[in-house]
Amino acid sequence: MQWWCSAQGQPWDWTWRPYVGVWLFVALIAAGYVALRRRYPPPEPDNGDGRHRAAYFVTGLILLWAALDWPLGALGASYLASAHVTQFLLAGVIAPGLMLLGIPRGAFGLIERRPTLHAFLGDLTHPVPAFLIFNVGMTVTHWPGVVDAAMVTQAGAFALDMAWVFCGVIFWWPLLAPIPARPGLHPLMKIGYLALNGILIRPPFAMMLFSEYPIYSTYELAPPFPGTNPLHDQQFAGAIMKLGTAWIMGVAAFMIFREWMRTEEAAEDPSVPSGWPI
């Protein structure tokens, strides 16, 4: 029985395979969220805030599940660099942001009641270390030696995926999740933070796109996936990484800008519904 998607060394076929560890992981997160929602129900009147947050969280969890489970998880672990990068965008960028957005606001009071945790998270999720952690994490987890060493075992592949999720949560925290007693980032700073991450050229992207030969032995030596060759697939992966990241940052920046404008208008004209504070 396979617990987590890792490099197989077998020719690809479209026969479904169960990855029990992925199901358990997703189920644990879902159970934790249900418990959190029960303990911290949305305040009355809700104005749809509770439903919105639940929708965000569930969407993020579904995307996380799709990224880690068959077929995308199996393709990304063994056969295609482009599938691997797509997994990263889903599990390491999009899903953590959506799930963080879905956490009940009252739950963050837990942080305030634990001074050590408050200090730890407060510094960890400061924009500067958060930016560094995300980008260093992204670089290291896409480094050829690291990918090739990790993907051959289920434990290594699991560690890589968890590193993505962790870095993604840290990345989005300064934008989406309040640290009690700490003022949030100004919307302009949030947009600047996202813009910087959108335009930054990270080494793995450059390596994928401009290397003369495949850089990942995992995909170079895998049984050929019909209709692809490893070098072209790797270049495609580099394009997905760059354009995908830029697009996600752009969409998030737009949403923040839109909500900022709504909030400003609501402050000037109370009859205008205020934006949902991100």
Partner: protein, 245 residues
Amino acid sequence: MVDDEGSLTTDNPAIFDALRSPYLGFRSVFFFPGVTSMVLKPALMLVALLVSLAACEPPGSSDELDSSPLKGSIIETGGERPRFTLSDTDGNPYSFEDETEGLLSFIFFGYTNCPDVCPIHMAMLATVIGRLDPADRGRVRVVFISTDPARDTPEVLRRWLDSFDPGFVGLLGTLDEVNAVAESLLLPPAAVPVNAGESYIVGHAASVLAVTPDGGTRVKYGFGTRHEDWAADLPLLLQWKAQIP
């Protein structure tokens, strides 16, 4: 602009609001006691571990096993060019010794229905050879010997090889003939399952054998040889002279 009291003002307060954010304070940028003690140290250790993983060479790499500059393993030097004759895809006899005189040759035993090793080796060789100068490209010959005579007809083999490089030579013979050649080259013989039906896997040597232009040196490249390894060795092999004691 500066107001009457000497304070900075602006028609765009949003920018100043942003700049006044405590997140940009010098103190908060450079002083992270929580991060330093609880995160940065383990994070740096993790990064060091991951970097050391990345720097590790795989066990048994050729650089460890012999002192030659080649990525492949030299298995014979000072010898003679292999001598064998099989049929090519046009049905004509192909004498390896005569046809590859003065050429850098790569010999590989495989079959067209191979799901992994064979197409990977052929694709890599085609890519790397294709990037040589035309003059050097003409001095290289890839010889693919089929280990599946039942399914690999001359037409099937030719079509398969053409998908990689039309210049690749395909040779066929009976299984006994092919295995005799393999054993003469110190490679394991192929194993075809008995009564296997139409779809079966053939066991065969996974290594490519390079024979230098002077015929005197044979270099073995196992499965796992990468594009960059071939690209590094091809120029060296083209110039290789056998070390005759």
